[in-house]
């Protein structure tokens, strides 16, 4: 396989042009899948035999929860890339994705609370899964805070990369919290190895909305990264040309 296209993405200019092509594609495919998944899930999927209709919030809750963790994984990987190979795009990625991940974690927490009320009888319990996602949210807020507080961009990029890498420790804790500790939270909905416990009609819309959420976030992240590239490279000639030609 040819990896040149991937290495080229390390250059802001190439990334910008590449994202021009792919961001809309990812975004609209994402929105399409998300809409299909959510409408199917909320309107047409069969009700759960135990939880009735209240289980339907899963079509919001699970995609956002998965995205919250995936975004942090991306942050951590970008942090390593930024510290080891000093690629220019890695800090841009972190800066663009951290707020998105924070919003995803927040939506996951809120939808979880709304789901918890009818099923557990409480908005919130101090359960391992919930608490570790709350900490994930706080880690995101820490990354954003340090990004916004340090005026020196070089220092800010480095600090944020370090925090992102250190925070990776929380991901396995979230992942296995439902297995390591006794909790109210049900175990993972998706597993690659085992057959899903849900019937196909309930499971497929969930898969669609999760994939859709990935596409949606990928599109938005690319736009945010493009904006950040324009700010950081504002002295480069290609940016001047880009702005003059396409009037961004």
């Amino acid at each position: 396989m040819n990896w040149i296209w991937f290495h080229k993405l390390g250059s802001p200019k190439w990334f910008f042009q590449w994202a021009n092509k792919w961001s809309k594609f990812a975004f609209f495919i994402g929105v399409l899948l998300l809409t299909i998944g959510v409408v199917w899930g909320l309107g047409f999927a069969p009700a759960d035999y135990q939880q009735g209709n209240s289980f339907r919030i899963i079509y919001i809750h699970v995609p956002t929860a998965i995205l919250a963790q995936s975004c942090y994984l991306g942050l951590g990987v970008a942090g390593i890339v930024s510290l080891v190979w000093r690629m220019k795009m890695a800090p841009v990625f972190i800066k663009a994705v951290a707020p998105l991940g924070a919003v995803m974690a927040l939506i996951a927490l809120i939808s979880g609370a709304i789901w918890g009320k009818p099923t557990w009888g409480a908005w919130w319990v101090w359960d391992a899964r919930l608490t570790s996602v709350l900490i994930l949210f706080l880690l995101y807020m820490g990354v954003i805070a340090i990004q916004n507080s340090l005026d020196d961009m070089q220092l800010a990029d480095k600090a944020v990369a370090v925090i992102s890498v250190v925070g990776l420790i929380n991901l396995p804790i979230i992942k296995y919290s439902v297995e390591w500790w006794n909790t109210l939270h049900q175990p993972a909905t998706f597993t690659i190895t085992a057959k899903p416990a849900m019937p196909m009609e309930m499971w497929l819309p969930l898969l669609l909305s999760t994939l859709g959420m990935y596409g949606f976030i990928a599109g938005v992240a690319m736009w945010r990264m493009q904006a950040e590239v324009l700010v950081r490279e504002h002295r480069a000639n290609w940016v001047k040309k880009e702005v003059l030609d396409n009037g961004i």
Partner: protein
């Protein structure tokens, strides 16, 4: 410069540095998270302790937000300009504090119902908690200002300020948690609220003057 232009510029400054407010709120959330994880997440512990937990977290978050209040102004020299501007310094301090108070206490009040759910506070008790926050928190800010003004010129002022100011926070915390505890067992809590209001009013009259004296001492 007039009082109103100063007030307006303070509002603008808070809007443009939202991160400071967000930091105080995240800190507030983190301190609250420590208690269920550190002591016990059970309802039997959290429900009676919740008022105290929230008030301790509020006190620390307020200290954190007040601590940096004069720092920027001191570093860029505008604090000196305030001293020589000819306007009455305590009023300026009070205006600055008002902006600070509103910018922290409103998001805090929005967060409080969510947090009180997480700590199993009943809705009736929540109102008492909100009342104590509204009546008691001005005192926290006003007392904190004196410390912030005293330590503004020091490089490691934050810890020193904590040491100076926290003892003065104790009465506020005692009476507000007292009010919440009284409400939880169904007793009247007007007395505690009245004392809280008295503390806030006394600090309102004294602390701007004391803060102005300390600012003059720090700037010299």
């Amino acid at each position: 410069m007039t009082y109103s232009s100063f007030f307006y510029s303070e509002i603008l400054a808070v809007f443009r540095r939202k991160q400071d407010v967000v930091n105080a709120l995240v800190f507030f959330l983190l301190v609250i998270t420590l208690f269920p994880l550190g002591v016990s997440p059970s309802k039997e512990f959290l429900q009676p302790a919740a008022g105290g937990i929230i008030w301790c977290a509020v006190a620390l978050a307020v200290l954190m937000s007040v601590e940096g209040m004069f720092k920027e102004d001191f570093n860029d020299g505008s604090l000196e300009q305030l001293v020589v501007s000819g306007l009455y310094l305590p009023i300026l301090v009070l205006l600055k504090l008002l902006v600070q108070w509103v910018s922290v206490i409103i998001p805090l009040l929005v967060l409080t119902p969510i947090l009180s759910q997480m700590l199993f506070i009943n809705w009736e008790i929540l109102w008492v908690l909100v009342l104590t926050l509204l009546i008691g928190s001005p005192a926290l800010f006003l007392i904190g200002t004196i410390g912030a003004a005293l330590t503004v010129s020091l490089r490691r002022g934050a810890v020193l300020m904590l040491l100076i100011i926290l003892p003065f926070y104790l009465p506020v915390i005692i009476f507000s948690t007292g009010a919440i505890a009284a409400a939880q067992v169904g007793q009247p809590y007007n007395g505690q609220l009245a004392i809280l209001a008295a503390i806030s009013l006394i600090t309102l009259t004294l602390s701007p003057i004391m803060a102005a004296v300390s600012i003059k001492a720090s700037v010299n």
